[in-house]
Symmetry: C2
Subunit: 72 residues, 2 copies
């Protein structure tokens, strides 16, 4: 499997904690040196392993936030 | 592969549109008849196929929204 380089630029928030200390987190992550994106994903303690997740660009995150601010 | 039943309870917002009309969407979805959760995922046109994504409970979504409202 090809190696994936990533750098967690900013820890935004922990959404929940699940089995064996895995946490669902929102982070700002640069993948393979590219422009950082928001990332919602499960992580093992100390970020040694990651689960599946989605990445959102700044624009996508703003659209999400605006949609929910209009809902409430 | 086992069948997954889901019902899109609410279309919240389209975040972006990508290749071949696939869209990254936020929906409120009930999976296998369970309590609906927020779901961020890529979808083919007419929702005939889905990509990978994450589901967020109401609590997790509220934590996310609060984190970003405190950021700005």
């Amino acid at each position: 499997m090809a190696e994936i380089n990533f750098e967690i630029v900013e820890h935004v928030v922990v959404l929940s904690e699940g089995n064996k200390g895995w946490k669902k987190e929102v982070n700002l992550i640069s993948w393979n040196g590219r422009e950082p994106k928001y990332d919602i994903r499960d992580w093992a303690p100390d970020h040694s392993k990651m689960g599946k997740g989605v990445t959102l660009s700044e624009d996508e995150m703003q659209i999400l936030l605006r949609a929910f601010s209009n809902k409430s």
